[in-house]
């Protein structure tokens, strides 16, 4: 089940933030549609690689938008916020991977000059099998990834516009279908340029505001280091009995920080939807400079995110810890909510409220097994210790991403571990913050910081821009793999230009339908697989592309066996460690538990080891088998030189 259950709005109908949000989302969507219409294309070169006439700076902004997904925008600062120092794995993993891509792959793949990554693997390893395997991997990675983006779209729609989740996903799908289907890569590129500016503004404005508020320094990057905020947060965390924020290796061991960072780096460099962006520029030189622009654009968000993560953690604790319960609302199904005032009530009246809450909890337990029983939602209305009403906390409880409980019935929410009498009068120890989803950190910052409603609306539009831009890039990869690498190549090699573009459009629509279905009904494995997609990409794609450029000796036998070993090893290990989540109908516990991990390496970091195996196997097998044919050696030598024939070859 999807974790969100959208309910009727509890707060006043004429919420100004919602009006602003509709206005911003409507405006940006209209803009994307307009650009899609302006850049509609008729031939394959425009459809897959935007006619290769995109200027470096525009391609840089488009790459940055393509690169920064809903996860970068919505989830990453939250992840860092809850990981402290070890959150650096995401920061360095995703930006450091970019260095590898820019120095080791992008210029050469641009020189190679075809449309897709499977094109390169097929040609370099003179094998249709390798091409098909690569196309399948590209489709698999991109599909799971795009389902994650659709989920992001759903979160934004259901939280800010209170639209049903499925409708939000359908609207998002419709918009992407329009500008990607009509304009292909050309449409996607120019929309992504606009989307970059929407998402970066949406990220910076609240970050600057919260930085000024907490550190008196408007620049988050400098407030982060030159104010005493980190020391204040460490102190607060120690008081709550948690680890210091800035101390390393609290969440992961040192070995795992290394392995996860490396898996994310090498995996990012091998992601097909990012590589393919470098096919759209004029020549090799432009590919290098568009990499420079892209990493500058990316760094703006990636250096702000850790600051925002730290500020938000501090602010959240300051607001929620020791907050006062003013009112509790119980609502069952479509019935009118029951409202219990809490503050200024006598002790016996308060106990009666808790009794009703307890009853509702018991009903909810029964509802989990018996679909005939209606669930009751329990919403706590809170005010912060300094007396501000925490409306954002109320609204997030409605989405199911935040859950608080006054366990010890003292009328306050306590973030320390507390002892209380639970069911059957047994003493239990828990925090009264029962659940907090990492996605709340970024999306609630403007409200937590008390910013005007239009900023909240801007953040919603920014989250959508991040999700839609990445989804579009991924859909193009799916479309090109299906249409160009598989259909046109094997089924109808003599198709006309018009037919090729038509097949591409049909493939995009197919991809959107599948992604949309997964967005509305995510199977349990999607969330898991997205997190591991990088490890799989690192263990399969990276070594083969890298060696294909930097060695003339590796051959088909080496590459195919290397890819298989890397992929199978990594996949098997991940499945063994997460069997209960990936195959829930077969297992209820992981087959390998944490203390049985190979050298203690977590499944998130295992791609690093898989990649090493891939390198070794590819190399050894290549050395034991005959070298590749002369025309392949000539091809490798050609892509190493930037000059001569830069345009995409026609097939």
């Amino acid at each position: 089940m999807f974790p969100l259950n959208v309910q009727q709005p509890i707060l006043a109908q004429a919420d100004p933030a919602r009006i602003w949000t509709w206005a911003f989302v409507g405006l940006t969507f209209a803009l994307y549609l307009y650009i899609g219409w302006r850049s509609r294309v008729r031939e394959t070169r425009g459809f897959y690689v935007a006619g290769q006439g995109v200027p470096a700076i525009a391609n840089g902004a488009a790459t940055a938008a393509d690169w920064m997904s809903a996860a970068s925008f919505i989830s990453m600062a939250g992840l860092i916020s809850f990981s402290g120092s070890d959150g650096s794995v995401y920061l360095m993993g995703w930006t450091g991977g970019y260095v590898l891509l820019a120095l080791l792959l992008a210029p050469y793949l641009r020189k190679f000059g075809h449309y897709t990554v499977p094109d390169f693997i097929g040609a370099r390893y003179y094998s249709d099998t390798a091409r098909v395997v690569a196309a399948m991997c590209a489709i698999f990675v991109s599909l799971t990834y795009v389902a994650g983006q659709m989920k992001g779209v759903g979160v934004v729609f259901s939280r800010f516009l209170e639209v049903e989740l499925w409708l939000g996903v359908v609207i998002g799908m419709g918009i992407v279908a329009f500008f990607a289907g009509l304009g292909g890569m050309k449409g996607i590129t120019w929309t992504q340029v606009v989307q970059y500016f929407v998402l970066i503004l949406a990220f910076l404005i609240p970050s600057i505001a919260i930085s000024s508020m907490l550190t008196q320094d408007p620049i988050p990057q400098s407030g982060f280091v030159f104010s005493d905020i980190s020391e204040r947060l460490n102190e607060v965390l120690l008081e709550l009995g948690e680890k210091e924020y800035t101390k390393p290796f609290g969440k992961f061991s040192q070995l795992n920080v290394f392995c996860i960072t490396a898996a994310l780096m090498f995996g990012t460099a091998g992601l097909p939807h990012v590589i393919v962006r470098f096919y759209t520029v004029k020549n090799v030189r432009a590919a290098r400079y568009s990499a420079v622009w892209a990493i500058i654009f990316i760094a703006v968000l990636y250096t702000t995110a850790p600051a925002l993560g730290l500020f938000a953690r501090y602010n959240l604790i300051k607001n929620l810890h020791q907050s006062t319960v003013t009112q509790i609302e119980l609502q069952t199904g479509e019935e009118k909510p029951q409202v219990f005032k809490f503050a200024d009530q006598s002790a016996s009246q308060q106990q009666a409220v808790f009794k009703a809450v307890q009853q509702a909890q018991q009903t909810n337990l029964r509802a989990e097994t018996d679909p005939a029983v209606a669930k009751t939602s329990i919403t706590y209305f809170l005010t912060s210790p300094d007396g501000k009403p925490l409306n954002w906390a109320t609204q997030w409880q409605n989405t199911g991403l935040l859950k608080v409980e006054d366990l010890d019935r003292d009328g306050h929410i306590n973030l320390k571990l507390i002892e209380f009498k639970g069911a059957d009068d047994k003493t239990e120890t828990r925090s009264e913050l029962a659940k907090i989803d990492k996605d709340i950190i970024v999306l609630s910052t403007p409200e937590v910081a008390g910013l005007p409603p239009w900023v909240i609306a801007l953040v919603a539009a920014g989250g959508l821009a991040a999700a839609l831009s990445t989804a579009a890039g991924l859909l193009l990869v799916i479309s090109s793999s299906l249409a160009h690498d598989l259909y046109i190549r094997f089924v109808e090699p003599n198709a006309t230009e018009a037919k090729k573009v038509r097949v591409g459009r049909i493939a995009i629509l197919l991809g959107i339908l599948v992604a949309g279905y997964f967005g509305i009904n995510p199977p349990g494995f999607v969330g898991e697989v997205v997190a591991f997609a990088f490890g799989l990409a690192a263990a399969s794609f990276f070594p083969v592309i890298f060696l294909g450029i930097f060695s003339t000796r590796v051959n088909r036998a080496g590459a195919v066996s290397g890819m298989i070993v890397g992929l199978v090893f990594t996949m098997t290990y991940i499945v063994l460690c997460t069997a209960d989540k990936v195959l829930p109908f077969l297992f209820d516990a992981p087959i390998l538990t944490q203390d049985q991990w190979l050298f203690g390496i977590s499944p998130q970091g295992i791609g690093t080891l898989g990649m090493l195996f891939n390198f070794v196997v590819t190399w050894v097998v290549s050395m034991c088998t005959p070298p590749p044919p002369e025309e392949v050696v000539a091809l490798v030598e050609r892509i190493r030189l930037p000059g001569e024939a830069g345009a995409a070859a026609d097939h």
Binding site: P248, V284, P642, G643
Partner: protein, 84 residues
């Protein structure tokens, strides 16, 4: 362009990449992971240098590495006249 100058160009290219990636490794893995605890003994502002490197400094250095690569390769392209 002769075969030997092609080889020279490729060697020069490799040298640039190896130097830049050594810095990438030293900053990303060395200072920010392997030696983060000793780096944290030095402070920058109110933070440990290791923590700051892992969450800020390394990213700035990555940007500079990609920029230097583009500039140096431009010069190499001109020297060997391989640009298009």
């Amino acid at each position: 362009m002769t075969d030997s100058s092609k080889k020279q160009y490729w060697r020069a290219n490799l040298k640039v990449v190896v130097i830049l990636l050594s810095i990438w490794f030293l900053v990303g893995f060395g200072l920010s992971i392997f030696f983060i605890e000793s780096m944290n003994l030095i402070s920058i502002g109110h933070l440990g240098l290791g923590f700051w490197m892992a969450q800020q400094g390394s990213i700035y250095i990555f940007v500079v590495l990609v920029l230097i690569y583009a500039l140096v390769m431009d010069r190499l392209d001109r020297k060997y006249k391989v640009s298009d």
